[in-house]
């Protein structure tokens, strides 16, 4: 799948819901090869469908979900790649979306990609994002029951019993 | 009576010291085979000394009297077996008070004690270890019993009139002299069976599933500490000597003193040294080399291999010896 074709297919399917697209061409320093890295900025409503659309090409590999606090919003980036298994065939596909802090809900993709569970649980505890339909929403790296979200910039620190 | 008392004292301490020395040698040799330097040979003594001064912790949800009693029972049982075994040039101390069947029962006792102690210590690891200990015991008892019964029966057949289940008599009449070709093959099979039963009886790799460090963190002994653990360690060391001496008494009771024409004290010394060398060889073959050369098996695999192939071999040995007894007299 050519990166251009992939992008056009997404644009045809989701139209204005895809806000921006960028294709980076990463060149090997030996000068004999390059691979594409595609960045999509999408609305949070279409994330689930976008992943389903990606699965229709090849079952993607999800490296992780990265996230950061922008103040009023939280930005999430889903780092997928497809085309693995073929020599020099892999291309990275990233979906970026924003959720307002007042209503930090995103639809969970665990029903499509079961392996996303660890990454989603990590975003719940560290950034306070809520994933709808996630099979297990407990903390993973932080102790069970800890309510603070360490990666939020307005977080002031843990209180009370956790410090003992 | 006085002789019996002092004899018991000598055998008790002698057995413990011998057991610990052999354990030290075993650890050193295993280390050398694994390209390590290994601990000094006196290390087991140091371990025991350290354990004896350490606090004896009884877990909160243990049953204290069973938990504390089990190590004593284990040690008492193995030391008692020692009294029935011919050691060196000595005839057994308690000969006339019991026979091979009693020894079999006493041998089972430490494992039972360990399992009871494990169940009583109230830790899930120890409970699983204790269950495994019981499974192990059920696995190796039948091949062990088959080997011993076959031997005693054949001896009785060859020399009617002696008490064939007495270890003194078995040691006085090495079995190999009375066997025909079939019996010879059978006896070799039984030696092999006993050499495999020995590491299982001693809970050594590949049969150390009841303790299994990487799985159960010590299994039955996980909660034991201080004096109790020291007693269990000593019982383990003595048991090594007991198992070795038992196999020697059954199959290789030969002495050098008589062959060299030595009598009295000189003969005694030579016999004792020869016995120690034999014991070392048995432990080397059945414990050290096996535990260096194998991975730990699973409990289901141990149960299978003892119940099916090993019991089969033991019964084949038994049948061959019976046939030998019936047709080659």
């Amino acid at each position: 799948m050519e990166p251009k074709g992939l992008v056009e297919s997404f644009q045809a399917r989701f139209g204005q819901k895809i806000r921006a697209v960028r294709i980076d061409e990463i060149r090997s320093n030996l000068g004999i090869y390059s691979y594409p890295v595609i960045w999509f900025e999408i609305d949070r409503e279409v994330l689930h469908d976008a992943v389903a659309h990606l699965i229709s090409f090849q079952f993607p590999h999800l490296a992780t979900i990265s996230g950061r606090d922008l103040g009023k919003e939280i930005e999430l980036t889903y780092h997928f790649s497809i085309g693995y298994g073929q020599r020099r065939g892999e291309q990275s596909v990233n979906f970026r979306l924003r959720v307002p802090k007042a209503d930090p809900r995103v639809r969970s993709i665990c029903d499509l990609v079961p392996g996303a569970l660890t990454a989603e649980r990590e975003k719940i505890e560290f950034l306070g994002v809520q994933f709808e339909g996630i099979p297990d929403s407990r903390n993973i790296f932080l102790p069970y029951g800890m309510k603070e979200h360490p990666w939020r910039k307005d977080e002031t620190g843990v209180k009370g019993a956790w410090l003992e | 009576m006085v002789q019996l008392f002092w004899g018991s004292v000598v055998i008790l301490f002698g057995g413990v010291i011998l057991g610990l020395i052999y354990q030290g040698v075993d650890r050193k040799l295993a280390a050398r085979m694994q390209a390590r330097i290994g601990p000094p040979i006196v290390q087991p003594f140091r371990d025991i000394k350290k354990l004896l001064v350490k606090e004896n912790i009884v877990p909160e949800n243990a049953i204290p009297w069973i938990y504390n009693g089990a190590p004593f029972l284990a040690l008492a049982a193995v030391v008692t077996v020692l009294f029935y075994l011919p050691l060196g040039d000595q005839r057994p101390l308690f000969s006339g008070y019991g026979d091979l069947i009693l020894v079999l029962y006493l041998l089972a006792l430490p494992a039972v004690a360990l399992a009871i102690g494990g169940f009583a210590s109230g830790s899930p690891y120890a409970v699983i270890g204790a269950q495994r200990e019981i499974v192990m015991m059920m696995s190796y008892e039948l091949p062990l019993a088959a080997a011993i019964v076959a031997l005693a029966w054949r001896l009785d057949r060859a020399l009617p009139g002696i008490t064939a289940f007495s270890l003194k008599e078995i040691a006085a009449h090495p079995i190999w002299a009375y066997l025909g070709p079939l019996g010879f093959i059978g006896a070799i099979l039984l030696v092999g069976v006993l050499l495999l039963v020995m590491p299982a009886e001693l809970s050594k790799i590949p049969f150390d599933i009841a303790e299994a460090e990487t799985e159960l963190a010590g299994g039955v002994t996980v909660e034991y500490s201080g004096r109790n653990l020291a007693l269990l360690r000593i019982a383990d060391a003595v048991k090594t000597v007991v198992m070795g001496a038992l196999i020697l008494a059954l199959f290789f009771p030969y002495r050098l003193g008589g062959v060299l024409g030595l009598a009295g004290a000189a003969g005694g010394v030579v016999d004792t040294v020869f016995f120690l060398v034999k014991l070392f060889l048995i432990i080397l073959i059945a414990v050290t080399i096996v535990r260096v050369a194998a991975a730990r098996l699973k409990v289901s695999q141990v149960a299978y291999s003892f119940w099916v192939p090993l019991t089969g071999v033991a019964l084949a040995g038994l049948v061959l010896i019976v046939l030998d007894g019936l047709f080659f007299m």
Binding site: D24, H79, R87, G115, P150, W151 | Y125, A295, R296, S300
Partner: protein, 413 residues
């Protein structure tokens, strides 16, 4: 701790955060029915130190040292992935010779990591003889790493835009000699691991991860390849000098006819990857061009820092670490050399999900080897600083340092 559900009694045994079969803290709670595992709950995080947040308070040249210390075993992997993320984000070129040197160090690390794993696996099976054997032969590659970089672990070799030390003409024969040593040894290792009856009994059909599970649960590295999922970034999306080298993903069907996805297959994959790594280093040594190795002088470092400050961008650095895909993502704003986002994802993070299907129906005895079979690196997953202590003798830190300098000098001849 008995618990009755559905009229059956399950025992729950906790394994970890500290347990003899775990080398690093990770907690499992197993529900058992007799000796059989019914369910498992996994709780990582006992080592979490928030390294990423620390990295968002430093400039990338300072973070290099932090990234390297995320994990002791795969330290150069973290450094390669981190440097590549920064280089991709800001468009910093790397000289070809440096790319080859990175490949050589990465593959040497793969050799030492896989041999180390083999020893740990043998120990979990109760086969300590193989543990001592493998860890002894591992010293050879540690010595070569020390010869090339000056350190046994945390090599401090890779930097943004290149490497810090060259491989000299005098060092090449010593590397080749070590490779020959491992080539001869490999046959013995394969024999000791794959033809040993007790190891076969303990690892065949144990900890099976099906192709479907491996794919859907995002397994990476040898764990995925042992189940037949051909994910290998060195082939799929080649980087460093890998596009110029011959390699293909290792799957267990190279050794036995079918892929089972069990622990035995994982041993096959790792042992064959040692062989592959030897081949890759030989190719790299043969093809390595002469030339620059990247930024080295103080002025050049300052220049680099200025570039980092001026430019903006985001980049992904992926590296096929010994345990699987290592992923670093970094994002810079203009006029700041401090990244606004740094995300590290290491192989164990991805492989964690694979534990559950592997434990289904396993026996207690299988637990340690299944835990070990993905080669978990908790330090990586929890992102912590691992410190390696010296021997607990009366050596002071200065004496130890002097000793290690002495040894490095001895290695250099």
């Amino acid at each position: 701790m008995a618990r009755v559900t559905d009229e059956r009694t399950y025992y729950t045994i906790p394994i970890g955060p500290t347990h003899p079969s775990l080398k690093e803290p990770l907690q499992f709670a197993f529900d058992l029915e007799g000796e059989r595992v019914v369910d498992v709950e996994i709780k990582p995080g006992w080592n979490h130190r928030g390294v990423e947040v620390l990295g968002m308070k430093r400039n990338p040249l300072q973070t290099l040292y932090l990234a390297e210390r995320i994990c002791g075993i795969c330290s150069v992997s973290h450094l390669i992935a981190f440097s590549r993320a920064v280089e991709n984000a800001l468009g910093i070129p790397v000289p070809p010779r440096a790319e080859y040197i990175r490949v050589i160090i990465a593959e040497l690390e793969r050799i030492h990591s896989h041999i180390l794993w083999a020893g740990v696996a043998a120990h979990e099976l109760g086969f300590d003889t193989l543990l001592h054997l493998t860890w002894r032969v591992r010293e050879q590659v540690m010595d070569i790493l020390e010869l090339l970089t000056g350190n046994r672990v945390n090599y401090a070799l890779v930097t943004i835009g290149g490497v810090r030390r060259d491989i000299t003409k005098e060092q090449e024969p010593l590397v080749r000699q070590a490779l020959r040593y491992y080539k001869d040894l490999l046959e013995m290792l394969v024999d000791a691991f794959l033809h040993d009856p007790t190891i076969e009994l303990r690892t065949r059909d144990v900890g099976v991860l099906s192709y479907k599970d491996a794919l859907e649960l995002m397994a990476v590295g040898p764990t995925a390849r042992a189940s037949g999922v051909k994910k290998d970034i060195r082939v799929d999306q080649p980087y460093l000098a890998y596009p110029a080298l011959e390699l293909s993903p290792i799957t267990p069907d190279l050794f036995r006819p079918e892929i089972h996805g069990d622990v035995y297959d994982k041993i096959i994959v790792r042992l064959l990857e040692i062989e592959q790594a030897i081949g890759l280093i030989e190719q790299a040594l043969a093809k390595m061009p002469e030339g620059e190795i990247g930024h080295a002088t103080k002025e050049e470092m300052t220049e680099l820092l200025v570039q980092i400050k001026e430019r903006e961008g985001e980049g992904i650095g992926r590296h096929e670490a010994p345990r699987g895909e290592l992923f670093h993502y970094i994002r810079f704003q203009a006029d700041s050399e401090i990244p606004i986002l740094w995300k590290v994802k290491c192989p164990t993070y991805s492989n964690l999900m694979s534990y559950r299907p592997m434990f289904q129906g396993a026996q207690i005895a299988d637990i340690p080897i299944i835990i070990a079979c993905i080669d978990p690196c908790i330090a990586c997953m929890d992102r912590v600083i691992v410190r390696r202590d010296g021997r607990e003798e009366v050596w002071t830190a200065e004496q130890l340092l002097a000793k290690s300098w002495e040894k490095t000098r001895r290695l250099k001849g």
